[in-house]
Amino acid sequence: MKGRLIISGLGILAMLAEIFKFKKVLYPLVLIGILAAYALGFTEWNANYNIEMFSNMIRFDNVALAFSGVILATAFFWFILANDYFEKDHVTDHFALVLFALVGALMLTAFSNMTTLFLGIEILSIPMYVLAASRKRDLASNEAGFKYLIMGSFASGFLLFGIALIYGATGSFDLMAIRAYISHNGADLPAFFYAGVLLVLVAMLFKVSAAPFHFWAPDVYEGSPTVITALMSTIVKTAAFAAFMRLFLVTFGGVNETWGIVLAVVIALSLVVSNITAATQQSVKRMLAYSSISHAAFMLMAILANNRGMASVSAILYYSLAYSIGSIAAFTVVYHVSKQESGSSNIEAFNGLAKRHPLMAVCMTVAMLSLAGIPVTSGFFAKYFVFSLLIGTSYNWLIILAILTSAVGVYYYFKVIIAMYFKAPAKEDGITIDSSHVVLLLLTTLFTIALGLVPNFVIEIFG
């Protein structure tokens, strides 16, 4: 709870900074604030388990704290990556928007009521719409923001409609009350309740950009400034999954026959569409956008195996951490490479990166190996946990499909590696990057490998 107050406070402070002229100290202040919020999470661990606040609207259990931890850690890395973004114009606006989006993300990890779910999603999304369009003289960025807004509003509409139907059937917004209602009246729920569940499902699938609700993602990812793309594919995604998980594992766990098969089809579709489309992309940024759809499908697989209790939760936690860290490393490299090439992140821009900046090439390689799921990186364990959750259920066929499409995934991740090591660079001059980014790359790479070597800390976190 204290962490959320700090982040919200920082957001308000950022808006005041323009007036009171302390823009310069804002950046260190935010970094310290995030670290403080992260550290405070530890004091609350196990301490106020099940404490509910604001009339049972928010609940801070360990799951919420763990996902907040992932989000805050990613946010810390992200702020290091995005230091340029807070230097030119609209500095305080950028700070405020990102911090408020962060508040929304944190809210999505801890909601215990449908209204807080909706509020969280909106608080997260509205700043993101603006941030996507924040390169305001760039047509692609404007288009990205606009598309994101239209599609996001649609999804919000679905969500509201779904919530209304569920409220109509069960008479409550409270997650636990809905869950209790389902388990008591399992047999005679009205048909519109199921419609409500499916509408909520569709809305959430929009937010995590699973096929066939993914069409906004590639354009938005490509058009937005690279750092914002990194924000979307890490923090926003983690938050959306925390919410997805809480809704479908806890609240609607009783009616999993209704949404299970739909989800299975969505996963299958996402795996196939995302991997095949990603393989044909020329732009690395766009490729990462499509690959994020495939990672979403993997995380959804952990939700699909819904009878595994906390194992599913820790698998999703691990996956989102591994994926976020790997993505931050990848986007750091993409950011610098595309800066060299005046904004283009085409695969040719990566040619010969191993000669121009060996460290970046090595870190990018580790990130790609992790995203492709090669041991002993964290990405491998992430996929392993998902497989081991799903094996032996009736969804064995999804595992086979996931494996076949992973092989396609290797193709496009390795295309980047091959380009970096094997193709001759267009320019011979070296690339210089900030020392803070060097540290960031080293940290994320180290993290990726360390998480792969000792996954215990994350997966045994719930005891």
Binding site: G392, F414, N456, E460
Partner: protein, 487 residues
């Protein structure tokens, strides 16, 4: 502890070598690989002295809640393959002394890291660890082939990588499936090999068949077995010589070793049901690859195909599930590992001295360098398994084993002897004998490092051909252990 050292030394050495420059890299790499070889010899005598010694096993918890342990150990079988690995790596490094590679630190560093993974594969006693080492072995060799390979290496190494990765992912599924059936009595799931064996045997025949094909796919691709071999010839030809040696000399054995330790005891029922199909594929591969080898013009490609033929026989012998078949498979794995490294070195020498590997363009080299001709002859004879060479024991046992399974199959499998003699002797004849072609004129004397490697290989071929007992005893012992698990 000793077994832990065997894994950690190449890793540390590899990381050290990354930090060096120029010629120092290869010398340091050679030094460390010799240390590793010495360690494995110590382990060998330790094993002879006391097979149950605590030095030969290591078991630490890795991920407690999932039953994953860092469990490695040396038994008779893994002892042999670790010896093969540690013996070949110094030779492979030595054979590279005349090749000027760019970025030698990365090259030798990757070789040593690969050695770490290979030793890990051969010693792992935990299913999960086995998989991790199995995948780890793939990454260094991918970069070795990619960075120092021949023309068009991008596409070819990529095909190799995707093929093997796909296979191993299926193996992972198969292993997880067995793992999910462990611990019914205790309620604690475990990746320990003994628990996996037990769980595997508790499955019914359909479940076992699923596991069998998942895992067989991975091993079949690695070896490779027809029709999963299409990545192999191009990869072998395009990889740098040392990469080819690693691939064919050691990495191929991961597949056959896996068959023995990680497939047969896991799914005995499925073996009864599907063993015939798998043997059929292996035997078909023998004839198919031999026929293609006969018409090859490129000597390196010829050896690549001969390798498919040899490994087909090994696989058929192992899959026959007989004492002789498996024991022969183990012996042949060792012999083939040594011989094929020698043959690929010869292909490399031919290319370096004459500028071509095209058999038609070569001829009459014997008249230029009689010494080389003798060494080449010995290695070639070892490869066609002449009595008193190291190849003979294994091949004899293998055919014996397949014969016990089915006489007709053995008849086809034995064709490998005839066909092997055809392509080996014919290529030798046209390269070394006959009229001296233009390309042979420049063929001078061999450089010291190449000569040394060839001498060592020839010595091993003859020595273990005449007196195979030390290896054969171990192979027999290891096989008996596996056979116990098959009943």
């Amino acid at each position: 502890m000793l077994v832990g050292l065997l894994i950690i030394v190449p890793l540390i050495a590899g990381l050290l070598v990354f930090g060096t420059k120029g010629k120092a890299s290869r010398n340091i790499a050679l030094g460390f690989s010799l240390v590793e070889f010495a360690l494995s010899i110590v382990a060998f005598f330790q094993y002879k002295h006391n097979p149950a010694s605590a030095d030969l096993v290591l078991n630490c918890t890795w991920v407690e809640s999932l039953g994953i342990h860092f469990a490695v150990g040396l038994d008779a079988l893994s002892m042999l393959l670790v010896l093969l690995t540690t013996f070949l790596i110094p030779l492979i490094i030595l054979s590279s002394f005349k090749n000027e590679y760019e970025k030698p630190n990365s090259f030798y560093g990757l070789i040593l890291i690969m050695q770490m993974a290979l030793v890990g594969v051969f010693t792992a006693n935990d299913g999960f660890l086995f998989y991790v080492f199995w995948e780890l072995a793939l990454i260094p060799i991918y970069f070795i082939c990619l960075l120092w390979g021949g023309e068009n290496r991008g596409a070819i190494t990529f095909k190799f990588f995707v093929y093997t990765l796909l296979g191993s992912l299926f193996m992972l599924v198969g292993l997880i499936y067995v793992y999910s059936h462990t611990g019914f009595e205790t309620g604690i799931k475990s990746w320990a090999i003994a628990d996996l064996y037990q769980a595997g045997r508790s499955l019914d025949v359909n479940q076992q068949s699923f596991v069998f094909w998942c895992i067989f796919l991975a091993f079949g691709i690695k070896m490779p077995i027809f029709p999963l071999h299409t990545w192999q010839p191009d990869t072998y030809v395009n990889a740098p010589t040392q990469g080819t040696m690693l691939l064919s000399g050691i990495m191929l054995k991961m597949g056959t070793f896996g068959l023995i330790k990680w497939l047969l005891p896991l799914t005995p029922l499925a073996m009864e049901k599907w063993g015939g199909v798998a043997i059929g594929l292996s035997v078909f591969g023998i004839i198919y690859a031999s026929c293609i080898a006969i018409v090859q013009k490129d000597y390196k490609r010829l050896i690549a195909y001969s390798s498919i033929a040899h490994v087909g026989l090994i696989a058929a012998g192992i899959l026959s599930c007989t004492q002789q078949g498996i024991q022969g498979g183990v012996m042949q794995m060792l012999a083939h590992g040594v011989n094929v490294v020698g043959l690929f070195l010869i292909a490399d020498i031919l290319l370096r001295h004459t500028g071509t590997r095209d058999i038609d363009k070569l001829g009459g080299i014997r008249s230029m360098n009689g010494n080389f001709a003798v060494l080449f002859l010995i290695i070639m004879l070892g490869s066609v398994a002449l009595p008193l060479t190291n190849g003979f024991v294994g091949e004899f046992l293998l055919i014996n084993g397949v014969y016990q399974y089915s006489a007709v199959t053995a008849g086809f499998a034995a064709l490998t002897v005839v066909l092997g003699a055809v392509y080996m002797l014919r290529s030798y004849q046209s390269i070394m004998l006959g009229e001296r072609k233009d390309s042979a004129i420049a063929f001078g004397s061999l450089v010291g490092s190449d000569k040394l490697v060839l001498y060592i290989i020839c010595f091993v071929i003859v020595a273990f051909g005449v007196y195979p007992a030390p290896l054969n005893d171990l192979a027999e012992e290891g096989t008996k252990l596996i056979m116990q698990n098959l009943k």
